[in-house]
């Protein structure tokens, strides 16, 4: 139902295998899923209750659109949510053979190409530190890392993975001038940039996404959702409402 799900760029970038990985198009716990076939007028008479609910679009944002955001992208997509991801950095930085020699790519460089590059450089090293594995996962999700500032798809909920990204996202939205008048919830989840933390955070994101999707009125319930998330998960959260 969300028109943005079929973003042309995603359609262009998406590999056929992506679709195959999605078990179902519908979210697992769609509260009103069953109602859609009911008599529309009957439902309409149920006054304020919204019987047609938009599926929220999530956007997971980290610095390089590689590890944390892609883990979130991965789990949310597998669970059937509408999700996109992006990075706020100026370049995509991956660990190199030493700390002072990172692998740097432009946003838009296909994951496939990075994988091949690293594989060629030192397959053993990158296999061992998990980079190849990560890139392999990423290339199955989408074509290439995307830069937040160039993303023009409007998300309902943006989940950033560290405060720096939260700042960058808010700052970018202010910079865009917010001419579209559309509100967006931005939630920062403080996650350390390593595979383990990303995995743990992925599960937290899954919980968050479920709560968001289940909400009858997202704006109304967002505060409670954030509160519950804090109780349930260890991550420090920030939450703001911004405008596209």
């Amino acid at each position: 139902m969300d028109p943005r799900r079929r973003d042309p760029r995603r359609a262009a970038q998406g590999t056929p295998s992506v679709a195959a990985q999605i078990p179902t198009m519908a979210p697992p716990e769609h509260p009103l899923g069953g109602q859609s076939s009911e008599d529309a007028s009957l439902i309409n008479n149920a006054s304020l209750r919204r019987h047609q609910k938009r599926r929220p679009l999530f956007c997971i944002v980290c610095a390089s659109n590689q590890n944390r955001s892609m883990e979130g992208h991965n789990v949310l997509q597998k669970a059937g949510y509408d999700v996109i991801s992006a990075g706020t950095g100026s370049l995509v930085r991956l660990p190199g053979p030493t700390v002072d020699r990172p692998n740097v790519y432009q946003f838009g460089t296909p994951y496939q190409k990075m994988w091949e590059d690293l594989h060629e450089q030192d397959a053993a090293l990158y296999e061992q530190n998990g980079l190849l594995n990560m890139l392999d996962r990423n290339r199955k999700l989408k074509m290439a890392p995307q830069r937040w500032n160039e993303t023009r798809i409007l998300a309902d909920v943006v989940i950033t993975c560290e405060e720096r990204c939260f700042d960058a996202v808010c700052d970018d939205l202010l910079g865009r001038g917010s001419d579209l008048n559309r509100s967006v919830h931005i939630i920062n989840m403080e996650i350390k940039d390593n595979h383990e933390e990303a995995l743990i955070a992925g599960q937290a994101m899954l919980d968050l996404a479920a709560a968001v999707s289940n909400a009858e009125d997202l704006d109304e319930e967002m505060d409670n959702i954030v509160q519950k998330q804090i109780m349930k998960h260890p991550h420090n959260l920030l939450h703001t409402v911004a405008f596209y």
């Binding site: 028109p3 079929r6 899923g33 910079g175 579209l180 559309r182 704006d219 505060d223």
Partner: protein, 1076 residues
């Protein structure tokens, strides 16, 4: 995407089960497609689909459709002008959506309208005919402001409202005044001209302040972190775009206190401070030259300190909101909780929605015994009246206190008019204001009003009206002194809510439907004669008392308003608007219903015309929902009255500009008034009409057509047949035909409009040039007189006018000459005029009358070349002679006597008097003796120029010349006649010289010579005696009298010496001999 056909996809979506996930998928795909195609395709889709789906129940498709509207208005790749034009089409559907119960649509509507609002403002700044859209926007703004403060507004809608109000604040504040920095996407007050007919920048700024204030109050008192962060974000944008509001923004940030926040979450406080920090850092980063840079940096530091303090508290304690901050805006619906008295003491009831609260109250009251409750209420009351702290009485007291939720009373003025249609529908619950001590309970609902009998209703209205009459004035004054009342904030036409109620009671309370009338008839059967009729005529006075009552009430209201129309006209406006609306409602139900509006509007207009001033009457008329037919006649009458004319103009102008349905008629009235016999009325109308030329259409075209027709009418010969259309085309003020001979005032009626407009645009004179030759000569004369002032105003350098002068049609020379005359009279002609006349002379062979205007600007050779033409214009009439005389003085150089050291300007350019005289003589063949003579005689009338020495030198010139002009001798005669002292010179020198030149060979000269000799006798005798014998004989034969004198002279001179004068004696003596 090229392969996807949007229409086919749409049809496919439509064929799928409604609201199914499949349909959702197809629609979302279609939306993605539509975002990639040119924006006219979604616009086209919307144009076709929106009208039919607008009023459908909620469905996935409807949501999709309205989201597409949002896309088109906010995002579609179009330039701002296109976008605005398209967006205006969606204003009405979106306004309707604003009242939808579904928060999704409300949000969408506010988001979309938030983008339209600034654009409507922008186009209204330049296009004054868009008032209707602006009014809609003002209404939307009011609505959104209400949503923003209303306690039950869903949070999503509130967030959208915040954003909407941010756009409003941007519009209602002043951005950069430099037009180069104006961004059409971000219009602001500097876009609005100061003299705008309906946008007043000062008032708009005040409205902006009001909105800002409301936002600030929300910001400080709201308890929802989401609302706060949303406001921080929107304030961030405001600070970025409006330098003047930067200070306001950072101050608001710094002064914000987390105390009011709902929930004790550290996260929320941190998020808010963080968001503020981001906004301020962004501000300083994007505006490195900002005026408040240092202050903003300081504010950032303060925020950091505050955040540190909050963090230092670690697990922040929940700050219980004080009871003073009773803004219950931050309502998050909580699930039902068991009413457990032990936790109530710490529970904040103001966070609950009203329904739940009511339930809690009822449940709690069930647990309490009646005595206990009474005691509690008593205790509470006494504590309130004593103004002391409330006595700590049980939990219920706490509840009572807590539930005093401030909520805005619903103003009946803002209730949708449509609601009134359903008189039986339950009214919205009127909640009591918290100020009402006795009833300070929210749960209280007003019972539905008891139905009243018609008689009761009438009595109620009667008493109400009487009270109004008694106290109305005081109340009005009082009310105006207390600003800030809700009704005033709504900007309604009258601040008097009860006035409205009264008016509504009168207009529709009594017998607003046929059913009610019948009911009234039955009821009032017994006491029909109770009420004294004040003599007014009612349609069926005996049969229908209800109607009579209705009439009587209206008459009372009418009399009241007319008692002091100037200060009560707003009531009349309100009343007639109500009548009109009510009529519409009744007509819908009963197509044959009686119409009150038409009758009363006529009554009020007629009566008010004499009892109003400009301000009240014009405001009243312009606020009428429908203009009655008689209005324009009334306005004509007003315009004819010198004192009331401005009122008529003040009304007519906006009618033409803003009320399109009556524009045609109003414009016709105005145009006709331009030809009114009264000068003031004419001038007023012309002044009003002028402003629409040349840009404002369609008025400009009409003005042109009308003035052209006026001028053409002047040229219609009096015997030509005119059809009815032509006769009526100019309206009632002009006679069918021009009176001949012309009456100047009448000609002015025809002409004044064109002349006044010609100053702005000389093309208004064009018909005059075209038809001038066919106009009656007396009218022509009048026209020429009238032309003087406008022509002076246009000036000689207007290219259009010059063009007309250059290409004037045959027969309108006099007009052209008149205009040239205006330009050259008393001053030297401008370069443009010289060029014009030169080209006329060269290209069109214009006659010499044209020459006169520029002759003085020509050089010697040119003057000499054109001189014969000039002289040729003489026809014996004094006018021409005067003209030529003027010219001679302008082309002849007067010898300076005073100071020889003075630089003689133009000396070489101008002719010496002598030269002119010689030229005149030389052209005698060319122009004919008669004209040359006339010209020379003009010279003799200028003795100060053609002094005797000049004449002598001229004569000398000819004496030295080979041939003598015919007029020479005549000139000599004139000279002698004018200057007696020349006689000596003429008689001796000149005559002798003539003799040596054998003057007798030319008969005419010879005759002249004789005449001359006769005039100058006896001095001429010496010379005569030099004549050869034959000639002397001829002379004496012609002038026998001279013979005697000559003989005497001869005798006297030489005695009788015949020998010496033998020859003469031979001639002179003959006669003697014969006579002897």
């Amino acid at each position: 995407m090229a392969g996807v056909d949007p229409l086919a996809t749409l049809r496919h979506a439509w064929s799928l089960p409604a609201d199914s996930p499949e349909q959702a998928n197809v629609l979302s795909g279609l939306r993605a497609t539509l975002e990639t195609v040119p924006p006219n395709i979604p616009v086209l889709l919307l144009n076709n689909l929106l009208p039919s789906f607008q009023h459908q129940p909620d469905s996935l498709f409807k949501q999709w459709l309205f989201d597409l509207v949002w896309y088109v208005v906010c995002r579609a790749p179009m330039n701002v002008e296109e976008r605005t034009i398209i967006a205006l089409n969606y204003v009405d559907p979106m306004r309707e959506l604003l009242a939808d119960a579904n928060p999704f649509y409300m949000k969408l509507a506010i988001q979309t309208l938030g983008a339209i609002y600034p654009q409507v403002f922008r186009i209204c700044c330049t296009d004054y005919s868009q008032l209707v859209h602006w009014n809609k926007m003002v209404e939307v703004r009011m609505r959104v402001m209400e949503y923003n403060v209303h306690p039950t507004t869903p949070l999503g809608v509130r967030l959208a409202s915040i954003k909407f109000l941010q756009r409003v604040i941007l519009v209602h504040s002043r951005g950069p005044s430099d037009p180069r920095l104006h961004n059409p996407n971000d219009p602001h007050l500097a876009f609005c001209p100061d003299n705008h007919p309906f946008l007043n920048p000062v008032a708009l700024k005040a409205e902006g302040h009001k909105v800002t204030e409301q936002c600030l109050l929300t910001f400080w008192n709201n308890r929802s972190p989401d609302v706060i962060t949303a406001m921080v974000q929107s304030f961030g944008i405001i600070a970025k775009l409006r330098q003047e509001l930067v200070e306001f923004v950072y101050t608001a940030f710094v002064e914000w206190k987390p105390a009011h926040l709902l929930g004790d979450s550290l996260t929320a406080v941190r998020s808010i401070y963080k968001t503020m920090r981001i906004a301020l850092v962004h501000l300083n980063r994007t505006q490195p030259q900002g005026r408040y840079r240092a202050q903003v940096d300081d504010a950032i530091r303060k925020l950091d300190t505050k955040l540190q303090e909050v963090l230092a508290h670690g697990d922040i304690k929940r700050l219980k909101p004080g009871l003073d901050s009773v803004d219950a805006t931050g309502t998050t619906p909580k699930k039902h909780r068991p009413v457990d008295p032990t936790i109530l003491a710490n529970f904040d009831f103001s966070t609950l929605s009203n329904d739940i609260l009511a339930e809690i109250v009822v449940e709690s009251l069930k647990l309490v015994t009646e005595e206990h409750l009474d005691a509690a209420i008593q205790a509470w009351k006494s504590s309130r009246t004593a103004d002391g702290p409330s006595t700590p009485v049980p939990v219920q007291d706490e509840i009572m206190e807590e539930v005093v939720v401030k909520s805005e009373p619903i103003d009946p003025l803002i209730m949708d008019m449509e609601e009134d249609l359903q008189l039986e529908a339950p009214r919205p619950i009127l909640e009591m204001e918290p100020g009402n001590e006795e009833m300070g309970v929210t749960g209280f609902k007003l019972p539905r009003p008891r139905p009243m009998s018609v008689k009761q209703r009438l009595l109620l209205v009667d008493s109400c009206l009487q009270r109004v009459q008694k106290r109305g004035h005081d109340h009005a004054v009082q009310h105006k002194a207390s600003p800030g009342r809700l009704s005033e904030q709504k900007g309604k036409p009258t601040p008097e809510m009860w006035t409205l109620l009264l008016v509504r009671m009168i207009t529709r309370g009594a017998t607003s439907s046929v059913g009610a009338i019948e009911e009234a008839e039955e009821e009032e059967d017994s006491n029909t004669n109770d009420e004294s009729n004040d003599g007014a005529v009612v349609s069926k006075p005996n049969k229908n008392t209800a109607l009579e009552q209705e009439y009587r009430m209206r008459r009372m209201l009418f009399e009241y308003v007319m008692g002091d129309f100037i200060s009560r006209y707003q009531i009349a406006t309100l009343w007639l608007n109500e009548e009109w609306n009510n009529d519409r409602i009744l007509l819908k139900k009963h197509p044959t219903a009686r119409i009150n509006y038409d009758y009363w509007v006529k009554e009020v207009l007629l009566a008010a015309a004499d009892r109003s001033d400009k301000e009240s009457f014009s405001t009243f008329v312009l606020d009428l929902p429908e203009l009655s037919e008689g209005l324009f006649d009334l306005l004509r009458d007003l315009a004819a009255d010198k004192a009331r004319m401005p009122t008529a103009m003040v009304i007519l102008r906006p009618l033409v500009e803003l009320r399109v349905p009556v524009r045609e008629e109003a414009l016709s009235v105005l145009l006709e008034l331009m030809t009114h016999p009264a000068a003031d009325t004419r001038k007023g109308a012309i002044h009003t009409v002028r402003r629409w030329w040349p840009d404002i259409q369609p008025m400009a075209t009409r003005i042109r057509a009308y003035t052209t027709r006026c001028l053409e009418r002047l040229a219609i010969p009096s015997d030509e047949e005119m059809d009815e259309d032509t006769k009526n085309a100019l309206g009632r003020y002009l006679p069918e035909r021009v009176t001949v001979p012309a009456d100047k005032n009448e000609v002015t009626q025809y002409l004044e409009g064109s002349l006044a407009l010609s100053v702005k645009d000389p093309s208004f004179l064009e018909p005059l040039f075209r038809t001038f030759s066919t106009i009656d000569p007396t009218v022509q004369e009048a026209v020429q007189d009238l032309l003087v002032r406008p022509i002076q105003a246009i000036g000689p350098n207007n290219p259009k006018l010059l063009e007309y002068l250059k290409t004037y049609p045959e027969g309108s020379e006099t007009l052209v000459l008149k205009i040239l005359n205006v330009f050259t009279e008393g001053t030297r002609p401008a370069a443009s005029i010289i060029n014009l006349v030169k080209s006329l002379l060269a290209d069109r062979g214009a006659d010499a009358r044209f020459l006169m205007f520029i002759i003085s600007e020509m050089d010697k050779a040119e003057i000499i070349r054109h001189l014969p033409k000039l002289v040729g214009t003489l026809n014996g009439t004094p006018e021409r002679r005067v003209l030529l005389r003027q010219m001679f003085t302008s082309i002849v150089e007067v010898t300076q006597h005073t100071n020889t050291n003075q630089v003689r300007e133009g000396q070489t350019k101008l002719l010496a008097p002598k030269e002119l005289m010689i030229q005149l003589h030389d052209m005698e063949q060319e122009v004919g003796l008669r004209k040359a003579k006339e010209a020379i005689s003009i010279c003799f009338n200028l003795p100060e120029i053609f002094r005797s020495e000049v004449l002598v030198s001229v004569m000398q010139h000819y004496l030295d010349a080979k041939a003598l002009p015919m007029l020479f001798v005549w000139t000599v005669l004139q000279a002698v006649a004018t200057y007696k002292h020349l006689t000596a010179w003429v008689s001796t020198n000149l005559l002798s010289r003539l003799i040596t030149k054998k003057v007798w060979t030319n008969q005419q000269l010879w005759d002249g010579f004789i005449l001359c000799a006769e005039r100058t006798e006896p001095n001429s005798f010496d010379a005569l005696l030099q004549l050869p014998k034959e000639q002397l004989r001829d002379l004496v034969e012609k002038r026998p009298a001279m013979k005697v004198k000559l003989r005497e002279y001869l005798t006297k001179r030489a005695g009788k010496s015949k020998a010496r004068n033998g020859v003469y004696w031979e001639v002179l003596g003959e006669d003697v001999a014969t006579t002897a």
